[in-house]
Every structure is written in structure tokens, then in C-alpha cells.
């Protein structure tokens, strides 16, 4: 049996926690806000790619790519979790990170 080694937020996900996060602020500001509080999640690696509106982070065996896509004044945050060797842990990783992000962004949620 081969497990999928990545999982991402998707508006068609049945699990509410796994839906993308939408903010009512622009992408640049969203990325600034997220990069301020996200290190509290205690990542092993954390890097911000401003030019691509993207954050790369790794915690244990899971790698996260957080993309900020602006759309008419709103910003949709898409999170992709990836693990080459431990694919069964990625959903759990996503379900931990996304509520943490929602809690810290509650003032800006759409």
C-alpha cells in the first residue's frame, strides 16, 4: 500500500479544519502577520520567500509550504504538508497547524 506523501488545504475537503484560510487583508500584510506568529509553532526550519509570497517551514518529519494568493483584496492561504517517509503523519500535522493559524488570524478571517 502506497500512501500519498502530501496533503493540502482545499475548499472541497470534507474536514472543516483542512479548508483554506481566507483573510480580508492583502497578501503582503497577511504574510507579515503570519511570519510574526508562526515561529511560535516551534519549527525546526522557517524561511520566508517574499518574492514568491511563500513560507517554507519544517517541523520534525513534516515540511510545510504556505502560499498566499491575493484575490480582489482578499488573501487565500493555502498550506501544503509533505513528508517523504512518514506520509501517515501529514494530515495530523495539517490539523495541528491550521487551527493554530486560524486562532492567531481570527481578527482578519473572512
Amino acid at each position: 500500500m502506497c500512501f500519498k506523501n502530501n496533503n493540502r488545504t482545499n475548499s472541497s475537503q470534507s474536514d472543516k479544519d483542512l479548508k483554506p484560510i481566507s483573510l480580508r487583508i492583502g497578501a503582503d500584510l497577511s504574510m507579515k502577520k503570519v511570519s510574526e506568529f508562526l515561529p511560535k509553532f516551534e519549527f525546526d526550519t522557517f524561511s520566508v520567500r517574499e518574492e514568491y509570497n511563500e513560507i517554507y517551514a519544517r517541523k520534525g518529519v513534516i515540511e510545510y509550504t504556505i502560499s498566499f494568493i491575493e484575490d480582489y483584496g482578499k488573501t487565500h492561504i493555502s498550506v501544503l504538508a509533505y513528508s517523504e517517509r512518514h506520509p501517515f503523519k501529514i494530515k495530523k500535522g495539517l490539523k495541528e497547524l491550521l487551527p493554530f493559524m486560524r486562532e492567531n488570524l481570527k481578527d482578519y478571517l473572512v
Binding site: 518574492e51 514568491y52 509570497n53 501544503l80 509533505y82
Partner: protein, 448 residues
């Protein structure tokens, strides 16, 4: 790096469809050229001919002084990025980027060095072990770009590389591609149908339509000085307004029911139109002379037939056509000639009238004015020069007003300081400096 030259390049497909007509272009070393135009204009075909993916019917393509018409694609030293990324799904990002280098049998250390350098430029270091399906659309396109960069080719070709990305990412990637171009400094030819992409990225733009080059120039040149009505309408959003007008008694009037809507011209326009009048008169007289010559030839030929004979041949032809509903009946050569003569006579009539008009100083032209070059001011409905707002769209800091002038559509872009509701009246003024004059027959800009 390299310069690229297209000399009289034509492409005719097997089904006899000609996609590219007499394409001539000189791309300088390190230049970023964008080929832009609507679907089916031949831009991708041109790019694919340069890549060697399509054969050239005639003409020459020269890369760095060498004719490459018969050079195999892999030996042309060019790299191409496609709209659908064209990544190998079963290979990791590293392997995708390293593939061409492995094919070249480069040493392993060199491959690792080049891939890491490209990954660093494109912020892909963390994704090298992943397969494409574990990447976002933007990341996949970066991998496709990286695969081209690692080869350090003479020429980069990009065929609508951003069309699969969402709007915001497209804007980001646009600026990234420009940055990469500056970093890598390779001659780049980029194909798109998006005029905004062309305007923001190109050193020079090549605008194409129906296989023909319409204009080559810097973004500023093609915007400020379009060579014909197609270019004027294609570049710029909202598109340039075109109004049919008639020049008479030294003044220009908008054609329509109301024949006293005057377009203010400056002295340079008046001089231009006078020159145009002279030039056009000469052209029309020349055409008329040729028609007369042909008619004379026929009058003196042995094939001349009487009107009665023509009528009887016509009847015969109609009868035969009715009997063979589905088939095209071959026309009697005498009748075909008579019909040709009829056409020539009607042309003659038209040209004689046109020449008379031009000699009187009366003729039709089209004017082009960009929506942002029209000023507006609210007025009361009694003002006889006023136009009425058909529809207005607020785009944040700008307002787009849709209206009609003498039955012809007029779109105006104005700062959103004042609101204009549907049905409201307003006065307008064209910025005379920004007025473009076009020949109504050829659609070319009137310029000398």
C-alpha cells in the same frame, strides 16, 4: 548568448493553411522579445520553428550567424518552457532539472552545482527531492524555468508559461521572470496572448495577426504610436476608441445622424490630412488608370460579346445551376469575363466618385483616441453638445464611462473623483495631441 534573425520566414502546413507570412525579425543579444497576438496569429508556430519543432516552408532562421533551418532541435542550444510545464511526473524536482545535463553526459559534480544554483535563484532548494505532484502550480512552473536555466542555453523560448497560473501568481511570476532574465542575461523570446504581460515584460513587442507582423516596437512606441487600427485596439485596456469621421471644408465631423459633431484638430493634423489627400488622390487615380486600361483591353479584344449574348449565357448558367443543385457548375468563360467587366465598371464608378470627393476635399477617415485621453465634465441635459452616460463602472480609483457619440460607442476612463450615473449628461473633450488618424480602407495610421 546570441542574436536571432528571422529572414522572410513562411510556414505553410500540410493542409495548405499558411500560419506565418514573410516573418522578418532581428533579435539582439540579451534582448527580451514578446510575441503577442490573438489565438491563431502564428506566434507559437514562429516560436516552434525557432525551436526546431516545426519545419520552415521557406526563409531562414539564423542563430549567432549560423543558419539553423536543418539543425536538429537538440543541437540548436535553446531551451523552451511550456504552458503545461511538461515536467516528468515520475522524477523528482532535482532529476527533472538535471535531465538535460545528464543527457549531455556532464560530470556529476557539475550537474549538482548547476541544479543547486538554479534552485537557489528560484527558491526551490527545499523541494529538490519532491515529485511535481507535491508542488503548487507556481512551484511547478519554477521547476520548468529551472530546467531551462541549468542548460545555460543561447536562447530561452517561453510559450505562454504563465497561462496556467492564477491571476495573482501570474503577476508575481511575471516580475520573477524579468528578474531571472536580468540575472541570466540570455536572449529570450516569450509568447503570450496577454497584452499586459507583453507591455510589462518586453524590451520590444512583436504584435501579430493572421500570420503577419503588425508592428515591432518598444511597449511605449506601440502604445503611443500604433501603426494601424488593430494594434491601437489590441494594446491598452479598455481598448482605443475608433470613430468614423468625414473630413469636409477643412473640418472633421463624426459620421452619423447628426452631421455637425466636430472633432477639434490641431495644425499638424490639418497638414497631415492635406498630405494624405494628395497621396490618396494619386493612389486612386493610379487604380482608376489600371481599371481603364483593363476595360480598354476588353473593348478591343475578340472576346467582346453583346449584351444580349450575356443575358442568354446568364440564363443558361442559372438553369444549369438549378439542375445541379449540389454541384458548382463551371461558368462559360465568356460569361465569366462579362461578369468581371461588370465588376470593373462598378469599381470604376466607385473610384470616380471617390476621386471627385477627394478633389472637393471631402473624404472619410477613422480617428483613434484612448479612453484616458478624453476629458469629461458634468453638464445639464439641455446642452446640445452633451453626451449621455450609458453605463459607468467604478474600478476603485478610476471610473469607466460607456457612452455613444452619434451612434458610435465611446469609452472614457477618468479619475473617480466624481460619480457619473447612467443617463447623466456630460461634456467631453479629446486631447488633440493624442488623436490618431487612420485610413479607413487600409486601417493603417495616416503618417508621413
Amino acid at each position: 548568448m546570441a542574436n536571432v534573425k528571422f529572414v522572410n520566414v513562411n510556414k505553410i502546413y500540410d493542409n495548405n493553411v499558411q500560419a506565418v507570412f514573410d516573418f522578418n525579425l532581428d533579435v539582439k543579444d540579451k534582448e527580451f522579445i514578446v510575441l503577442v497576438g490573438p489565438s491563431g496569429c502564428g506566434k507559437s508556430t514562429t516560436l516552434r520553428m525557432l525551436a526546431g519543432l516545426e519545419e520552415i516552408t521557406s526563409g531562414e532562421i539564423i542563430i549567432d550567424g549560423t543558419v539553423v533551418n536543418d539543425v536538429h532541435p537538440k543541437n540548436r542550444d535553446i531551451a523552451m518552457v511550456f504552458q503545461n510545464y511538461a515536467l516528468y511526473p515520475h522524477m523528482t524536482v532535482f532529476d527533472n532539472m538535471a535531465f538535460a545535463l545528464k543527457m549531455k553526459n556532464l560530470p556529476k559534480e557539475e550537474i549538482v552545482k548547476r541544479v543547486n544554483e538554479a534552485a537557489n535563484i528560484l527558491a526551490l532548494e527545499e523541494y529538490l527531492r519532491r515529485k511535481p505532484k507535491a508542488l503548487s502550480g507556481g512551484q511547478r512552473q519554477r521547476v520548468a524555468l529551472g530546467r531551462a536555466i541549468v542548460r545555460t542555453p543561447k536562447v530561452f523560448l517561453m510559450d505562454e508559461p504563465l497561462s496556467n497560473l492564477d491571476a495573482k501568481l501570474r503577476v508575481q511570476m511575471r516580475s520573477e521572470i524579468i528578474k531571472i532574465h536580468r540575472k541570466v542575461n540570455a536572449t529570450t523570446i516569450y509568447v503570450t496572448h496577454d497584452q499586459t504581460e507583453a507591455m510589462t515584460m518586453a524590451d520590444r513587442i512583436v504584435i501579430m495577426k493572421d500570420g503577419y507582423i503588425q508592428q515591432i516596437g518598444t511597449p511605449k512606441e506601440v502604445y503611443n504610436n500604433p501603426s494601424n487600427m488593430f494594434v491601437g485596439g489590441f494594446i491598452g485596456s479598455p481598448a482605443m476608441n475608433f470613430l468614423n469621421c468625414r473630413f469636409k471644408n477643412g473640418e472633421l465631423y463624426v459620421t452619423g445622424e447628426n452631421d455637425d459633431i466636430k472633432v477639434k484638430l490641431d495644425e499638424s493634423h490639418a497638414t497631415l490630412l492635406n498630405k494624405y489627400k494628395e497621396e490618396k488622390l494619386n493612389q486612386l487615380k493610379e487604380i482608376l488608370l489600371r481599371i481603364d486600361q483593363q476595360l480598354n483591353e476588353y473593348e478591343n479584344s475578340e472576346n467582346k460579346i453583346s449584351e444580349e449574348e450575356v443575358e442568354s449565357l446568364k440564363k443558361k448558367h442559372e438553369k444549369a445551376q438549378k439542375a445541379n443543385k449540389k454541384k458548382q457548375v463551371v461558368m462559360n468563360p465568356k460569361l465569366a469575363l462579362a461578369r468581371h467587366i461588370e465588376k470593373l465598371k462598378s469599381y470604376k464608378e466607385r473610384y470616380v466618385k471617390e476621386i471627385e470627393d477627394f478633389e472637393r476635399g471631402e473624404f472619410d477617415i477613422a480617428i483613434g483616441i484612448r479612453p484616458e485621453d478624453i476629458s469629461v465634465k458634468k453638464t445639464n441635459p439641455d446642452n446640445k453638445d452633451a453626451l449621455s452616460v450609458d453605463l459607468s463602472e467604478l474600478l476603485g480609483h478610476e471610473l469607466i464611462i460607456y457612452s455613444y457619440i452619434n451612434g458610435q460607442r465611446l469609452v472614457i476612463k477618468t479619475p473617480a473623483k466624481e460619480e457619473f450615473e447612467s443617463g447623466e449628461s456630460f461634456e467631453f473633450g479629446f486631447n488633440t495631441d493624442k488623436l490618431h488618424l487612420f485610413d479607413i480602407d487600409t486601417t493603417n495610421k495616416i503618417a508621413f
